[in-house]
């Protein structure tokens, strides 16, 4: 497989054992996630890593691979959660159908925001996505009869689910983790397919040089819109998972601080790498957990650490690690 994306020629080095292993990035990632609840101090933390990992992975498609720095990804994360909750709580839709409906509707929302925001470039795009996501926040705040306004959305507890004829107790943290992991696995497979497709090469070409991609005959505007929608769809699945997990949807999920947190996670882990988002989500959440043990002001440390990453480690933890191990771009 060749990537026409990066300027340099990608020489496939003699595949070391580790490098060859990374060819199966989806299976490898699933394997790591499968043992995660036993690596982390609590099952709740593991579920959060799973959820935020999916959200950040969807965002990485936009920021890491296409180079579009959006500050509005919370809109889709939140939309997925709200639509799931409303479908189950208000309309009594079965949980799996609610997830499908929520992802569909969130993708429509991504299409609307994408049509407006992909008309702009560079820094403008960041500002416009932030503003439009704030619009979604205020709409959710005002439409309190649907969303519960400031109190968040409540009243749609999913306690047991029927899975191929089996009744599964969804309140058990281990059961919950593995059901949600199935969604994460689906999202990872989907993302990997996108990245390996010709379309995946086109979006990387746009990141490297937009004008050249246009000159090559690619429809840059449409590709940006499509990737914006795909990214929104994957992130909204994370929102669905959050709604199933928490049984409430806090309004804060739509705030731009959440978008900012997603940006921080992708940078901590490493943009443009397949597993980086999960590393980023895990490090951010562990950091938050550990620091808030001895001070309520954990944000000051997380902010400072993020500033240091931007200055000195822009490739993030996972990206830098892959660099050190000498694993080439094609295998990430």
């Amino acid at each position: 497989m060749t990537h026409p994306s990066s300027g340099e020629v990608i020489a496939k080095p003699a595949p070391s054992g580790l490098g060859r292993l990374l060819d199966h990035r989806v299976l490898l990632s699933i394997a790591v996630l499968a043992i995660l609840p036993w690596l982390l101090p609590s099952k709740a933390l593991a579920v959060n890593v799973l959820i935020y990992g999916v959200v950040v992975m969807g965002y990485n498609l936009l920021f890491g691979y296409t180079g579009l720095l959006s500050f509005g990804q919370a809109a889709f994360f939140g939309a997925g959660a709200y639509f799931t909750g409303i479908a189950i709580g208000r309309y009594g839709v079965p949980w799996f159908a609610a997830v499908a409906i929520a992802v569909g509707l969130s993708t429509c929302l991504a299409a609307v925001i994408g049509i407006i925001s992909t008309r702009t470039r560079g820094i403008y795009f960041s500002m416009v996505t932030l503003a439009l996501a704030q619009l979604v926040y205020y709409v959710a705040l005002q439409a309190s009869s649907f969303t519960g306004g400031e109190n968040g959305l409540r009243g749609f507890t999913v306690d047991r689910i029927s899975l191929f004829g089996h009744q599964v107790n969804f309140l058990d943290p281990v059961n919950k983790y593995y059901v949600l992991m199935a969604f994460a696995a689906l999202a990872m497979w989907f993302q990997s397919r996108i990245l390996n497709s010709p379309f995946g090469a086109v979006i990387e070409a746009i990141r490297e040089n937009e004008q050249r991609a246009r000159a090559c005959g690619y429809d840059v505007e449409r590709s940006k819109l499509v990737v914006f929608m795909l990214s929104g769809a994957i992130s909204s699945l994370g929102g669905c998972m959050l709604a199933l997990h928490l049984s409430i949807v806090p309004l804060d999920i739509l705030h731009y601080q959440t978008s900012g947190m997603i940006v921080m996670m992708v940078l901590l882990g490493g943009a443009r790498s397949f597993f980086g988002p999960f590393v980023g989500a895990a490090s951010f959440l562990i950091l938050e957990d550990v620091i808030s043990l001895w001070t309520p002001h954990w944000q000051i440390f997380v902010g400072a650490i993020f500033v240091l990453f931007v200055l000195f480690l822009p490739k993030g933890i996972w990206g830098t690690l892959l660099d050190v191990l000498g694993i080439g771009k094609a295998r990430r």
């Binding site: 925001s117 820094i123 960041s126 503003a131």
Partner: protein, 291 residues
């Protein structure tokens, strides 16, 4: 609903817009010169409000707070440019944005540690308490003062940029920094000063907004979104655009609040969406740079 009520609401909108203009101006000037969008702008606005409040209570006079807070916070802004942002010139255009976003976390949490998480009331200066009879209705003296002060600051800024040697260097530097360096201008110092000016304007906006809004650590996040909307509508880097769009947004928020209060926070985003669909570069923006 009579006409005088609408006119009074219009005046309120101009006062609201005046604060937006000052804040968005700081953002747009820094972008125009340095090509940097400062995501900590809202946090610095909030710190300006706190600094104004603190200095006012320290000196016993609102006027010292109004004068000193923008200068002090502006100097702090220069420190930020010198220590952090300067390292990122020549790197990806996204990097200063990400860095200032992380910085806003630090600043907001820092204020929470020093002043607590709860809002603090910002007393209106005694000389400006009460209302003034305009013939058609009563208007708060303080808001009238805000409108006049912002007009004076805008005039001073315009005269400096258009009529002085310093302004000439600044305008030329925005157009082509390399040529300016060849001509012997220390462009680094110009950038330092401009970043300080932008942050100082954010702080001034914060102090002015203090008596109109409640002062709390989160006040910056709404302001940041508002300032973004204003600069996007006006056109990033355009000073005239910031003024026109700021007033436009302030007036529409006020007027919509009169007829449909629940829509007041939403209207400016809708306005921005419409402008983007018709003119992606903003009302006074130059095509090619951003859209």
């Amino acid at each position: 609903m009579d006409l005088s009520l609408i006119i009074m609401q219009l005046l309120s909108g101009i006062a609201l817009g005046a604060v937006l203009v000052i804040t968005a101006l700081g953002l747009t000037i820094v972008f125009g010169m340095l090509g940097v969008v400062n995501f900590a702008h809202g946090a610095l606005f909030m710190i300006g409000a706190y600094a104004g409040l603190y200095l006012a209570s320290l000196t016993g006079s609102f006027w010292w707070g109004l004068l000193l807070a923008p200068i002090l916070i502006g100097a702090f802004g220069m420190l930020i440019e010198f220590v952090l942002i300067r390292r990122l010139y020549g790197r990806s255009i996204d990097d200063p944005l990400l860095l200032t976003f992380g910085l806003s976390y630090v600043l907001v949490e820092g204020v929470r540690i020093v002043f607590g998480s709860d809002g603090i009331p910002f007393p209106t200066p005694p000389q400006l308490i009460g209302v003034l009879d305009l013939g058609i209705g009563f208007f708060p003296r303080y808001r009238l003062f805000v409108i006049v002060l912002v007009a004076v600051v805008l005039l001073a800024l315009w005269l400096t940029l258009e009529k002085t040697r310093v302004g000439l260097i600044v305008r030329a530097g925005a157009r082509d920094p390399t040529i300016m360096q060849v001509l012997g201008v220390d462009i680094g110092r110009v950038w330092l000063a401009i970043f300080g000016l932008g942050v100082g304007l954010a702080a001034l906006g914060g102090v002015l907004a203090g008596p109109m809004r409640s002062v709390n650590p989160e006040m910056g996040s709404l302001v940041l979104a508002e300032a973004f909307v204003v600069t996007v509508i006006g056109g990033l880097g355009s000073i005239v655009g910031a003024v026109v769009a700021g007033l436009m947004v302030g007036i529409s928020i006020s007027l919509v609040a009169l007829f449909a209060p629940e829509m007041a926070t939403i209207v400016m985003f809708a306005l921005m969406a419409v402008v983007l669909l018709i003119r992606p570069q903003g009302l006074f923006g130059v095509r090619g740079r951003t859209a």
